[in-house]
Symmetry: C2
Subunit: 494 residues, 2 copies
């Protein structure tokens, strides 16, 4: 009655956890340079503090870092914070003071992180102190996260950190996670409350150095908009009679673009622009109509419009655009069947500041080549649709992705600015989001932050990720198991 998927469990069972940790195997995602020694220092919550370095541009009052100091104190010393500290802890060694001194080079405590933010940091842990240096407050946040992961507890609950040197910076600037809030939840009567929630999310994210990028899909994925905006959608036909169903927003009428312009302006009015400097346009559905026309009428209507051309005008309102690729420019559709707007679909006509997101299919390497050869910056999402699930350790597939391993010049490779893990919501809501997301998203996180050569072996990563998943549980995050085993702090929310 054994699970057929694990025949080798039988004779070759590996004990992957449960070994008493005397050192942290590594920070997740792995820093660019990490040197650890076996020398270790005891940490005592009573004598532990964060402080700002004398030369730091950020000092007490810096909202982002003041809050981070409090947050990470709780993360590092959960027992102390919860008042469940074990009395045996203090028997392990003489309590010594320990100070984490943070020095930030440039100001910017009240701003938002953006694609040009410098997230690098250096961290040096030695006796009695840790020196954390960064260019920006965002880099300091990354360093604090790494520091928090370096601290470990022995079986008696005593805290330790090893002598450590870290030099770290992200491989890619854009390391995204898509959460689909449209397919579940949101009772209508809660809309106003939701808008205020958006502001909370943005501020919450800012304090953690995270950008919130809202995605307004169009012209497809707009069925719900149609309910509140009569005339917005293209009617579908059954023969010559409207079928009652609707296609994407109607690209042939001016009202469509007026609506889109108001929508994007409203985002500005909500004062979210500083944080939200990208918006996405779903484009593939246009071409679905050509590939598999659902009604001849829709195809005809569609050919008469040029959604992208018009949207270029509308989005000049200051919002940059991430365009969901691929574009089926090589479709076997005769050019003469495309009217005057045809050329606006050509890749070369897309404004150079438009980032192209590659989301579809197994041939993403071909798309990476093609789009970067046209000079566009690209985001990779296709292999990281982790709403797609399967039995077993599918994080290994995510881990094996090489975003710059495609046919192209070095210049082309540089145009890969990052990637995005996608958790679409057809089968996901609050009941299963967290365990489905964590630790599976961690695989892409390491691919987007760390040195690829040092992190390509999933077998080497496995015990580190297993340990990090335990750390997530310790922080109260309902992360699902990678395989058989147990953690010191199990999830008890059942």
């Amino acid at each position: 009655m054994a699970n057929t998927g694990t025949p080798s469990l039988f004779c070759f069972l590996l004990v992957v956890v449960g070994v008493s940790v005397q050192q942290v195997d590594g920070v997740w995602p792995l820093p660019q340079q990490l040197d650890q020694s076996w020398d270790r220092y005891s940490l005592s919550p009573q004598l532990f503090s964060f402080t700002y370095g004398q030369d730091s541009a950020a000092q007490t009052g810096c909202s982002v870092l003041d809050a981070a100091f409090k947050r990470y104190f709780s993360i590092i010393f959960p027992d102390f914070t919860k008042g469940t500290e074990n009395v045996l802890q203090s028997m392990w060694s003489e309590p010594q003071p320990f100070v984490v001194s943070v020095t930030v080079k440039t100001r910017g405590c009240d701003g938002y992180p953006n694609e040009d933010s410098d997230e690098s940091y250096n961290l040096s842990v030695s006796e009695g102190q840790a020196l954390l240096r960064s260019v920006s407050v965002w880099g300091a946040l990354r360093g604090l996260e790494s520091f928090s992961q370096l601290v470990y507890q022995n079986d008696y609950g005593a805290y330790f950190i090893n002598k450590t040197e870290i030099v770290d910076f992200p491989r890619f600037a854009f390391r995204g996670l898509l959460l689909d809030t449209s397919r579940h939840y949101l009772p209508l009567h809660d809309i106003l409350k939701t808008l205020s929630d958006v502001m909370r999310v943005i501020e919450h994210a800012r304090m953690r150095g995270i950008r919130v990028v809202p995605e307004f899909d169009s012209p497809g994925h707009t069925q719900s908009w149609g309910k509140g905006q009569p005339g917005l959608l293209t009617p579908c036909y059954k023969g010559s009679v409207p079928s009652g169903s609707f296609g994407p927003v109607d690209p042939t009428v001016d009202t469509t673009y007026k609506f889109m312009e108001s929508l994007l302006k409203e985002v500005n009015i909500m004062n979210m622009t500083a944080a939200l400097n990208k918006t996405s346009i779903v484009w593939q559905d246009v071409f679905d109509y050509h590939e598999r026309p659902r009604s001849k009428y829709v195809v005809e209507v569609w050919k008469q419009g040029c959604y992208l051309c018009e949207m270029r005008r509308v989005t000049k309102a200051g919002l940059k655009v991430i365009l969901a690729a691929p574009f089926y420019l090589d479709l076997p559709i005769p050019t003469h069947s495309w009217p005057r707007y045809y050329n606006c679909f050509l890749l070369s006509q897309i404004p150079q500041d438009t980032v192209l997101e590659i989301w579809k299919g197994k041939n993403y390497k071909t798309e990476l080549s093609r789009m970067t050869s046209a000079g566009h910056r690209v985001l990779l999402s296709a292999p990281w649709y982790i709403n797609h699930i399967s039995t077993g350790q599918d994080w290994r597939d995510s881990y094996a992705v090489q975003p710059q391993n495609f046919s192209g010049t070095d210049e082309q490779k540089k145009l890969v600015i990052g990637g995005e893990v996608a958790m679409w919501g057809e089968y996901v809501d609050a009941t299963n989001l967290t365990p489905r997301l964590w630790p599976r998203a961690c695989a892409a996180a390491e691919r987007l932050w760390s040195n690829e050569e040092k992190t390509m072996n999933a077998d080497v990563a496995f015990p580190r990720l297993t340990e990090f998943r335990c750390e997530l549980l310790r922080r109260g995050i309902q992360a699902e198991p990678l395989f058989v085993g147990h953690c010191k702090h199990e999830y008890d929310g059942l």
Copy 2:
């Protein structure tokens, strides 16, 4: 950037929920006969009560039903119970008394359900009352569950039930769910606490008319036993040197059977026998050794033993056996290579009271034919390994299973006593068990309880299951979504 899995969402979006419910679409699993009228009666928690019928063999003091009355009151009237009742509720109609009268034919309030328990019931809902009649208290529990699902609330929170007649009984007596508690959790220092937990689980289950059937896998899946019982397992060899790994329990030594006998006796000592009258023996691993011998030595050792023969003796201690099938009796292994115990592996030699569980492979129909033709009762589990996950609505596959659709006589079909949904634990623990289990297990539940002809269409079942999943959320069970949509009571545990 749409999910590639749902291209048809575009033009053919169906609104599957959100329609104001004026009637309950159906109880899950569907009763054998269910007749509902549009006549409906208002229920008022203040004037609602459960009572025992005059002729009932069970009366006040019946532990199972007294507790069920309390439990179902809370389930039926959650707002009232939580004190969040809407004042508008009472404006809908004059409050009327409503009594659910339960009449049980036979006693047995303090016993445990077994495979011969009669779970049938009749339920008649009319003005002011519901009459629930059953042979046993277990049937009354099933009827109370159905009754609870018949009650619904309108948009203002008022409670209603429609005039209803139900005649119901289960299609199969054995409708199992396997929970794998071995691959995750259980720190050693909690063992004693765990043993007392087992008793709590059994009592909790009894009160709900559920049998707890512990599964002690052997001879395979015994690696952890080997850690506490030196000499129990068969050593693996690398050449002529022990490799340090171990195979299944060693069938060639008497100590193995002494250990198994003590183990099973201990289950008796724990006074669980009444509830726990089956135990499982994992058998396939024996044959794995022949199929893919990991070491010649093990194969040789194995051939000298006859685990099953010996276990027949040991399990005479009163425990019945569910044997995990298939047995590879038709293996292309020359008979002469099998020693004297060969014939005990023959299907015909397995005691007739041994239930065979078909757990492996896609050819389960062939196995059903073969094992029932040998006169054995069988349980079907192979198509219901729901720890295997995939993107989308895989409950439809579970729903399509037809346990009696195999080549065989009517007598053979009757030997199918039920099935078992399996949730093995390699990738499942407290973090993701509930959303992975519910509502996916519901599909098999309907196949095992309801009339197959009335419930074979998954499209017809979909809105009912969607509604039932909302009911699970309303009861605080973290059931994951079936598709896009929302429920009145969403899960807010995030």
